[in-house]
């Protein structure tokens, strides 16, 4: 019996136990996405006989004799389905990985369900948008502008890939057919710390289809860091492709390459590994104490990866001069990026024998360099490509799969694919760094901040990728935004035998800002001053140097200043009333954040513009697109510079073959670094003429961007339930290149931060194993959980950024947790110091 897919009969019978999702993808329907394979996220939604179902939990055999419609079958010829048109007109997506599922779901909603979207859309998770854009799409709001020649910058231009996203034809990492591809799966460590004594592969090799088994004996005896930075030395070289010692539960032990995923998994189960258990340390405070088991005892005689001990002025004198001093200790949880597209890569050898890796990465160029370096290959013998990437948030500034895929391709000579499961994302990738921050601050009654100190402990997990940099960054802009003569910081980043932490939106700032802004709120309360006025008195102003304990950063300064406007917005917000349920406790709170527009130590981008026939131009950039929207802005910049409309700009990107170099799409650089290279290339072509021109920017000097967040909340004293009555965000991003996208970035950042503030935590058991391994255990914000956030832009023009623009992708996240904490404090009278503030914890805090 055949399966009818989008009107065509498919005769191939599904395999026993196969789900409909993988069957449809094998039949070429790449628009059907894998987000969770557990029925939770809805990215795989299709219609069976007209009814919407999650195809990942739908037995494929049951589709035999039925009609299946996927996103590819929704349009009638070239005419988009009304829901596809609506998602395009509203730009109801960012990375677009969840979009096909949302479109298929929306297309099936009844009128009654339209009236209750929080309930109707609870089976569709979006990690990027914060759902406002999706609500607009469902409501049929047209958000798009069609700018004329020379007017693209500043207009609400849609993403160039929009038509592909809404039709399911945008090609993400695995959305291509690779004939003869082998599948890689890994066996992961059940122990937090152990030496691998022996791996018996004999039973595993008995499984039909197994082509290769890789253990530490097959891996190069070479250390690297999974973290990707322009400067390789920024991260400790502490990782091997496959190591003889495993340092966290979930670390790769061995890899099996087989003709099917099922065979590879079965062979992994049949590997017999003998371990010598080593003492483990799971707690960062214990790891820092003397006598702790050493996580990398073969390389280091302590668990410290990085530390900062510095002060400015007279801290003791500052506290002595204060009328009020407040000190508290704050903790933040492990958080997962939860990009809807999991990690993974597919590699092959091209006709010339060159190693090609197509990966879900934010850093194709740095990954090429890392792979080449690991295997002693010349750079030109490795090509790394990113298709459209299904979300990043920092998690893909990391080489987590490409090293092993490369080894497997070179070993077998055949194409090899490794696609993480959703559960592997939780225990086998990276998390946000958990921080413990003790913050003390003092002020006089006239509102002068007299001293502040930070004691920071950063849990790196088992590997040091990003950890020292996250620690330094976290301790910088969080306090440099204040003019305070007396400051001290003591910080450590330490190894523990736990799942590694890595880069995550905000890069340490969010965690430290949670402490700083909570403490300053409490100090303002104690001196009887409103928190906005207290900030106005103490924040840096235009022309000030940015100083914090530690080395002075020479290339960072205030090249435009809008923090005063941001604060004024919050004051205006607080002046308006909100309705709250009877008997509920109401409070309001605010917080601010500052972020450097780009990382220290160099961030490079090349761009090339080439004339094409028909008045079009080809723009080549290295930067990957994962919903950050920088591709849209690059098109806008090039179009205006060349005096054409953006549809005349043809973009090639995120392929190490298209430009010389690009450090990558991280550290909020898509507009301010790559965009500046684009501007220079386009300007060179315009002013110098010719057929082709190049542009380059080295990422220095750097400006700073500002954000401020305000909430009013209500809490049910009987249950601890918290409702956000109003959310207001004010941002200073310099010139607004694309107001629709900028608003989307801010809404998405606020939503993601609300997840970390109110819901999300990756938990470990007493052995160090991650216990939250699916979305039903790890609650991402849904449509219902996410309030609308009013977004306001400051009117500033930056003197460094391209056309006056600044970064605005990580930073909206950073003030959210403390603003919420401050509002909660105002409502319930208790200062909560550990996020997330789940309903049960709020209720417990009130008892």
């Amino acid at each position: 019996m055949s399966v009818e897919i989008n009107g065509t009969s498919h005769e191939r019978a599904p395999r026993p136990g196969q789900c409909l999702r993988t069957y449809l993808r094998e039949e070429g329907c790449f628009g059907v996405k894998k987000g969770c394979d557990a029925g939770d996220c809805g990215a795989c939604t299709v219609h069976v006989d007209g009814e919407p179902v999650h195809s990942c939990v739908y037995p494929a055999f049951r589709a035999q004799g039925r009609r299946v419609t996927t996103v590819e079958g929704l349009a009638r010829g070239d005419e988009l389905h009304p829901v596809q048109r609506a998602f395009l007109d509203a730009q109801g997506f960012q990375c677009g990985f969840c979009t096909a599922g949302l479109i298929m779901t929306t297309a099936a909603l009844t009128e009654e369900q339209h009236d209750d979207l929080p309930r109707a859309l609870k089976g569709n998770l979006c990690r990027c948008t914060g759902y406002r854009a999706i609500a607009d799409a469902v409501a049929g709001v047209d958000n798009l502008a069609t700018p004329g020649p020379g007017c693209a910058v500043g207009a609400a231009l849609g993403a160039p890939a929009g038509p592909q996203v809404v039709t399911g034809t945008a090609r993400y990492t695995f959305d291509l057919d690779v004939p003869g591809v082998l599948h890689l799966k890994v066996l992961r460590s059940p122990h937090a710390h152990a030496r691998i004594v022996a791996v018996d592969t004999s039973a595993a090799f008995q499984v039909d289809g197994v082509e290769a088994i890789l253990t530490h004996k097959d891996a190069p005896d070479r250390l690297f860091s999974t973290a990707q930075h322009e400067n390789v030395a920024e991260d400790p070289a502490d990782t091997r492709v496959l190591d003889e010692v495993v340092r966290f539960v979930g670390q790769r032990v061995a890899a099996v390459v087989a003709t099917s995923e099922a065979a590879a998994e079965e062979a992994c189960r049949r590997l017999r590994v003998e371990y010598e258990i080593l003492p483990a340390v799971l707690d960062p405070a214990l790891a820092l104490a003397g006598g702790a088991p050493l996580v990398h005892g073969d390389k280091l005689d302590r668990n410290v990866i990085g530390e900062l001990h510095a002060s400015m002025g007279d801290v003791a004198g500052g506290f002595a001069a204060a009328d009020e001093v407040y000190e508290a200790t704050f903790r933040t949880a492990r958080v997962q990026h939860a990009a809807l597209e999991t990690h993974g890569a597919v590699g092959w050898l091209d006709d010339d024998g060159r190693l090609v890796i197509r990966s879900s990465t934010q850093t194709p160029f740095l990954t090429r360099r890392a792979v080449a370096s690991l295997y002693d290959l010349p750079l030109d013998r490795v090509r790394v490509i990113a298709g459209r990437v299904g979300g990043g948030f920092g998690g893909k500034q990391e080489m987590l799969v490409e090293d092993l895929v490369a080894l497997a391709v070179m070993r077998t000579g055949r194409p090899v694919k490794w696609e993480y499961t959703r559960s592997e994302q939780f225990y086998g990738s990276t998390t946000r760094h958990p921080f413990t921050v003790t913050m003390k601050a003092g002020a006089t009654r006239d509102g002068t901040l007299t001293a502040l100190t930070l004691d920071v402990l950063v849990d790196a997990g088992a590997y040091g990728n990003h950890s020292a940099s996250v620690m330094f960054h976290g301790c910088h802009e969080s306090v440099a935004v204040y003019r305070c003569a007396n400051m001290r910081t003591d910080a450590h980043a330490v190894y523990t035998n736990t799942v590694p932490a890595g880069a995550f939106r905000g890069y340490g700032l969010g965690q430290v800002t949670f402490a700083v802004e909570s403490v300053l709120d409490e100090v303002a309360r104690r001196i009887g001053m409103d928190p906005v006025t207290f900030r106005e008195l103490n924040v840096v102003r235009d022309g000030d140097d940015l100083t914090a304990p530690g080395d002075h950063v020479e290339d960072l300064g205030i090249a435009s200043y809008g923090l005063d406007q941001c604060l004024a917005r919050l004051r205006a917000a607080a002046a308006l009333p909100d309705d709250a349920p009877d008997g509920w406790l109401v409070g309001e709170g605010m917080a601010i954040a500052m972020i450097a527009a780009g990382p220290p130590g160099g961030h490079f981008a090349d761009a090339t513009v080439r004339r094409l026939p028909g008045g079009r131009f080809e723009l080549s950039v290295g930067t990957a697109e994962f919903g950050n929207g920088s591709t849209t802005v690059h098109a806008q910049i090039a179009a205006d510079e060349l005096g054409v409309t953006p549809d005349k700009i043809v973009i090639r990107q995120s392929d190490t073959d298209v430009v010389k170099h690009d450090t990558g799409a991280f550290a909020s650089t898509g507009v301010v670094v790559a965009g500046k290279a684009v501007l220079r290339a386009a300007r060179a072509l315009r002013t110098e003429g010719g057929e082709v021109a190049h542009g380059h920017f080295d990422g220095t000097p750097r400006s700073v961007a500002f954000n401020a967040q305000w909430f009013r909340v209500a809490v049910d004293p009987d249950t601890g339930e918290l409702r956000i009555l109003r959310s207001v965000h004010s941002a200073d991003a310099g010139t607004v290149m694309n107001p629709l996208q900028l608003r989307g970035q801010i809404e998405g950042g606020v939503a993601q931060a609300l997840g970390a503030t109110l819901a999300e935590h990756v938990d470990l058991d007493e052995t160090g194993a991650v216990t939250t391994t699916t979305f039903r255990q790890y609650h991402l914000p849904t449509f219902a959980d996410t309030p609308r956030t009013e977004v306001h832009f400051a009117a500033t023009v930056d003197s460094i950024g391209p056309l006056g623009a600044k970064s605005m992708s990580e930073s909206p996240y950073n003030p959210v947790a403390p603003a919420l904490a401050n509002a909660l404090r105002d409502a319930i009278g208790v200062r909560m110091t550990e996020i997330p503030f789940t309903t049960d914890r709020i209720w417990l805090a009130m008892q």
């Binding site: 026993p16 136990g17 179902v53 779901t105 699916t774 609650h779 849904t782 219902a784 049960d840």
Partner: protein, 246 residues
């Protein structure tokens, strides 16, 4: 014919929802063609293979049915596939079909591998988190929802960490014809707890009854702290008592 490695397949949303390497053969129940709902004099017999969507649509006039269906963490798209029997057999504390069946004094019909039938009240079918009375190879055939229960007035309260999240406490009260109250506690506890009051209970009666649930019977997982679930249970029990008595 039942052999090790076999699993009964209902809708598939639970069985396909996570890796099950120990399962080597699926025995498909929907292909047995059981009628989803059979109205009898003594109640409605709900086949184990009845989907949540069918249940919600066809028993829409009973408010408690809709309330329990909406208590699924899963969306309406899962309703189109997931079955009543599957939810009972998964035996999760938050399984809303367990709440519904227990609160309405539903009775399960089980069929053993040799064709032998037995009947077990829903409230006794689930014995713990993920545990049921099902024996190896035995299947859940149907649940009878008694007509008298379906006609009763009910009161429903649910608490969750999130607006449409997984239930952390789900309590249902049912007015007995003689003025009594049947109070069912689910989600907050690892298995259903049913309290029966022959006459309208006082606040103290309800409080005392709920207090007999030992602390370690409360669910302790990511979806809510036990102390909070215990508090919600007491709070909701009293609200239900008041509502039913009004």
């Amino acid at each position: 014919m039942w052999r090790p490695g076999d699993a009964w397949l209902g809708g598939g949303t639970a069985l396909f929802g996570e890796p099950r390497p120990h399962v080597s053969r699926l025995l498909d129940l929907p292909s047995a063609g059981w009628p989803s709902l059979t109205v009898r004099d003594d109640g409605v017999e709900v086949a184990a293979t009845c989907t949540i969507a069918e249940l919600a649509a066809r028993l829409k006039r009973h408010r408690i049915v809709g309330q329990c269906c909406h208590s699924f963490l899963a969306s309406f798209k899962i309703w189109n596939v997931a079955t009543v029997g599957g939810n009972l057999c998964a035996a999760l504390p938050a399984g809303p079909m367990i709440s519904l069946g227990s609160a309405l004094d539903g009775v399960c019909t089980l069929i053993g591998p040799a064709g032998d039938e037995r009947r077990v009240p829903v409230a006794e079918f689930v014995t713990g988190d993920g545990r049921t009375v099902l024996r190896d190879g035995e299947l859940l055939r149907s649940v009878l929802l008694p007509a008298a229960s379906l006609r009763s007035r009910t009161s429903y309260r649910r608490g969750s960490l999130h607006q449409h999240g997984r239930s952390a406490a789900l309590l249902i009260g049912r007015a007995e014809p003689g003025g009594g109250l049947t109070l069912t506690v689910t989600a907050a506890t690892r298995r259903p707890w049913v309290f029966r009051f022959g006459a309208p209970p006082s606040a103290g009666d309800v409080e005392a009854a709920v207090a007999t649930i030992p602390p370690d019977a409360y669910t302790d997982d990511i979806h809510g702290r036990p102390a909070w679930r215990m508090h919600l249970t007491r709070l909701f029990a009293e609200q239900i008592r008041t509502e039913i008595g009004a």
